[in-house]
């Protein structure tokens, strides 16, 4: 199969899977098998593209022209490759986890759940492989719409409220700001193609460029820059697999991925360097990093705490991209993968705790480490990766970003990253400490029975936790893959 075809098929496979899942809605086993088969097929497909891309191939194809000069086109470049790989691999893991979780938790409407999930993955892959901003925008919107039924899955008042915030904020930012920026870009540059070095150079006045840049940054609501971050905590009403894959990986990573794409391929590093608006967004991102961490510390609900942590971590990527040094941009790209593995582990654990112990708040987790040892250990690994301690993946991306900040002599951002690390420790370690060292008072010292989550959940947790460790050792190949994105031709 040629790269071009594989690329199109990669987007179609999950859609076909969605059809299969819907068709077998009466047979849960068959349905779940369909999900797993689709997920594996997708991963193999994406994997088959990896080698050619590492060798420098850039499969590209134009599917359809909507208006003159405005087309739906696909192209793979390294950053998209990383995103697609992470998303498709974690889909398999999450599918396994979902089976345990959804059954263990006796959820309703499971078919709708799996169908929407598959559609969301398809659009995430679409985002990853988009060759121009217009195509990306289409998949971006499909991703929003297809995840909405997942957020409101429970249909309770709370879920509907959460869904409203979710959809409202994401559509508000994407339509009011991002679409405006896209049309504007098109009207000044005449193209929306992602091309190395950017397309806007010498096309508009600095003021217009500044406004455009701010519109893009806030318009990409999925990157959750404050003050447009509220949708992410709101999305936590969803079942845990959704929070895990979509709101720690696919959706939010689609956001920061778009941010990196826009900085690197629409504006270009040279143009951005002279833009004052960049400084503004850098401070917004820093504020988000610190602010969200502080909010996270005050959350008792575990999933909400993780959500605020994600908000903070997403701004790392934005910060890294906007520092526009080579190492910080690559660091951003790597962080997309590192944070994905770390955070999905944490969410899996939160879900496992809910299924096995029916607990959602940190204050109730006393002594849980003894009943659910595997889960809590995995939680520790995920937490350490997010904090950025070796030998865990998260340490590399943080290192590269700090290096970038130092290289560009913007020492204040070095400080921001340092402080943030301390805050990470402050909000991620206490749950672990509590679960192992604080025992519930009434059991009077007797060790409680082991009561772990379903096996499918545990398996998934172990895989992602192991992944966080493995990534520490394989970071050089990731680095090599991403290196071309900072090389501007000529």
């Amino acid at each position: 199969m040629t790269g071009e075809l594989a690329m199109i098929v990669a987007i179609l496979v999950p859609l076909a899977g969605a059809g299969l899942i819907a068709a077998s809605h009466r047979h849960p086993n068959q349905r779940e098998a369909a999900t797993l088969v689709t997920a594996s097929a997708l991963f193999i497909l994406v994997l088959s593209l990896l080698l050619p891309v590492m060798e420098g191939e850039r499969p590209a194809t134009t599917l359809w022209q909507i208006l003159p000069g405005l087309s739906i086109a696909l192209e793979i470049e390294p950053l998209g490759m990383v995103f697609a790989l992470v998303a498709s691999f974690l889909w398999i893991v999450t599918s396994v986890y979902s089976i345990g979780y959804m059954r263990g938790h006796h959820e309703e409407n499971q078919t709708r759940f799996y169908v929407c999930f598959a559609v969301a993955i398809s659009s995430a892959i679409g985002v990853a492989f988009s060759a121009n901003m217009f195509t990306l925008f289409i998949f971006y919107e499909v991703l929003t719409l297809s995840t909405y039924p997942l957020v409101t899955h429970h249909g309770t008042d709370e879920a509907r409220r959460g869904g409203r915030t979710y959809l409202g904020l994401l559509l508000l930012t994407s339509i009011a700001f991002q679409l405006l920026a896209i049309v504007w870009t098109w009207s000044v540059a005449g193209t929306l193609d992602f091309s190395a070095g950017g397309i806007l150079a010498e096309k508009a006045s600095p003021v217009v460029l500044g406004v455009l840049f701010v519109l893009y940054m806030f318009g990409i609501g999925k990157a959750a820059l404050m003050p447009f971050h509220r949708w992410l905590p709101a999305a936590m009403v969803a079942p845990t697999p959704v929070s895990a894959l979509l709101h720690a990986v696919a959706v939010v990573k689609a956001g920061v991925f778009t941010v990196v794409k826009v900085t690197v391929y629409i504006f270009g590093a040279d143009l951005l360097a002279g833009l004052e608006a960049r400084q503004l967004i850098l401070f917004v991102a820093s504020f988000t990093i610190i602010g969200a961490s502080l909010v996270a510390m005050r959350q008792d609900n575990l999933k909400r705490r993780l959500a605020y942590s994600t908000v903070s971590q997403l701004s790392y990527v934005v910060l890294g991209a906007l520092l526009i040094t080579d190492s910080s941009i690559i660091g951003s790209g790597i962080h997309i993968a590192m944070h994905a593995f770390g955070k999905i582990t944490l969410f899996f654990c939160a879900g496992a705790i809910l299924v096995a112990a029916h607990k959602t708040n940190i204050s109730e987790m006393d002594g849980l480490g003894w009943t659910m040892p595997v889960t809590m250990l995995a939680f520790l690994i995920g937490a350490l990766s997010i904090i950025g301690l070796p030998p865990l993946g998260g340490s590399w991306s943080k290192y590269l970003m700090i290096l970038g900040a130092a290289q560009s002599e913007q020492y204040i951002f070095v400080v921001v990253l340092m402080v943030s690390t301390l805050l990470n420790i402050a909000y991620l370690i206490p749950p672990v400490v509590r679960s192992f060292f604080v025992l519930p008072g009434n059991t009077s010292g007797a060790r409680p029975q082991i009561n772990e989550a379903p096996a499918a959940c545990l398996a998934a947790i172990c895989v992602t936790a192991a992944g966080s460790i493995a990534l520490f050792f394989f970071v050089d190949s990731l680095y090599a893959l991403l290196e071309p994105i900072v090389m501007v031709p000529g």
Partner: protein
């Protein structure tokens, strides 16, 4: 050579068929006649469009009397496109009518309904095709009078008051228009549009022509429901029978907008219109205020049909906004939105009609849980709604794209921002419905409902798919709208 007489056939056919329906006296036969006529009209208008695109405007002398004394039917790319919209919508809603009419209208009135429907079609097609200013008035009244009748056939008694209100407002509008035409005639001595366009230069600066312009714009403004002259519309659409709402919402205001375009751009001329102090700014302000006011009102409606009716007022605002840019891009946006809005509102009202057919109400409380009970209908509604919002890959996106582009071309980026902000209001009212239909349990005190019959679903889905098709393949719509915009601005054939 029948092809040479297509312009006359377009009008004559429905006009003759209308009394035929009365003679037949049987609902089913009248329906068959209506379907046949609608599809023939569609065929004719496709042929006309093809002819125009291939070989330029067609001029047809009615009864062999040469213009400017005789009445001329003149088809260029602008009205060929509008003819296609009107007859296309009619061709799709006529099959839909059968079951819906049986459900909503007493049997002894069926043949009268179809006869009025055909008259309305005649009037709308006539307004569009004619090249004679007074003839426009005649057709305007044919379509208006028949639409008053159609609206009054609604099940709710409010339908009658709505029809009465519309009659009063509509007559005032038409009479204003008549005054305007009279004044133009007094100044130019002709009623042929092409002739008027040639002669109006010499009298351009007189107060009479200015007064004529004012009367015509206000009169047509009433007809096309330009904010704040829209008061008749919400009730008329909300209480009319479902098919009537589909048909009128998708065609009537579009035809009025076409007439407005024709008079402002072709008859008076762009230069004249731009000379009128603040006209463009005034139209733009009205359009924007209309978009926001109507969208916000729509959010607070509990009757979904009424909600969509307010949304129609807002959409008229978009079209007028496109016009008020007085540029090719803006006009293209406005004209393409004529077509696109017909597609989306047609689909939405058809889906609502199907809901009314099964549930017997379009109140927001009664659609709870319909996402499961009527999956195809509700999904059609969702896609129509997304199109209304302007999500990419639907027609709504194409319209928004051109409107924003037109604003940016002029450097008015706050206006572009306002257009986008207003689409967010559309999200709010569309999503209210979606949320209730999908994430609420069905009411327990009402019997369970099932999916709508195929004869309602198929036309609905044809329009829904058209929403997607023309959102992806824009060569026809944007291509024609672009040519039409250039014709109107006098930049090409």
């Amino acid at each position: 050579m029948i092809a040479a007489h297509y312009p006359a056939l377009q009008i004559a056919l429905p006009l003759i068929a209308a009394p035929l329906c009365v003679l037949l006296r049987r609902g089913t036969w009248a329906w068959l006649v209506t379907v046949a006529v609608s599809w023939t009209a569609l065929y004719v208008s496709v042929q006309l469009l093809l002819q125009v695109l291939a070989s330029g405007p067609i001029s047809y002398e009615l009864g062999g009397w040469a213009a400017p004394w005789g009445i001329e039917y003149r088809v260029d790319s602008v009205n060929a496109f509008v003819l296609l919209i009107v007859s296309g919508i009619s061709a799709i809603s006529a099959p839909y009518a059968y079951k819906s009419v049986i459900h909503e209208i007493p049997e002894h009135q069926h043949y009268l309904f179809y006869s009025a429907y055909l008259l309305c079609l005649t009037g709308l097609l006539g307004i569009v095709i004619t090249g004679d200013a007074f003839n426009v008035f005649v057709f305007l009244e044919i379509s208006s009078l028949s639409s008053y009748v159609l609206i009054s056939l609604g099940k709710d008694r409010k339908a009658v008051t709505a029809a009465y209100q519309y009659l009063v407002m509509g007559t005032i509008g038409a009479t204003f228009f008549l005054i305007g035409v009279g004044l133009i005639y007094a100044m130019t001595g002709t009623l042929n549009m092409a002739d008027i366009a040639n002669r109006i230069d010499q009298v351009q600066n007189t107060r009479t022509v200015l007064a004529a312009f004012a009367f015509i714009t206000v009169g047509l403004g009433l007809k096309l429901a330009l904010f704040p002259l829209h008061l008749w519309l919400p009730n008329a659409y909300a209480y009319a029978p479902s098919v009537v709402t589909v048909f009128l919402a998708a065609t009537a205001t579009k035809v009025a907008i076409y007439t407005m375009l024709r008079f402002v751009f072709t008859l008076f001329g762009t230069d004249f219109a731009l000379d009128v102090t603040l006209l463009a700014e005034f139209l733009m302000a009205l359009a924007l205020v209309g978009v926001f006011a109507a969208s916000i009102t729509a959010i607070f409606q509990n009757n979904i049909k009424r909600m969509l009716a307010y949304s129609s007022v807002a959409q008229v605002g978009y079209m007028m906004l496109g016009v008020s840019f007085f540029s090719v891009t803006g006009l293209t946006g406005g004209i393409v939105h004529l077509f696109n809005h017909a597609m989306m509102k047609g689909a939405l009202f058809m889906a609502l009609g199907a809901i009314f057919f099964r549930v017997g109400s379009v109140h927001i409380d009664r659609i709870r849980g319909l996402g499961k009970q009527m999956p195809f209908t509700m999904f059609a509604f969702v896609i129509g709604g997304l199109s209304l919002i302007g999500i990419p890959l639907t027609v709504g996106f194409i319209s928004k794209w051109y409107l924003i582009l037109a604003a940016l071309e002029r450097g008015w980026w706050p206006i572009a921002g306002l257009v986008l902000l207003s689409s967010l209001l559309a999200i709010v009212y569309v999503w209210r419905v979606v949320e209730v239909a999908y994430f609420r349990d069905p009411p327990t005190n009402h019997p369970k409902v099932t999916e709508a019959p195929l004869s309602l679903l198929v036309p609905t889905w044809i329009l829904v798919l058209a929403n997607i098709y023309f959102g992806v393949d824009t060569t026809l719509t944007v291509g024609v709208a672009d040519t039409a915009a250039k014709v109107l601005l006098g930049l090409g054939q």
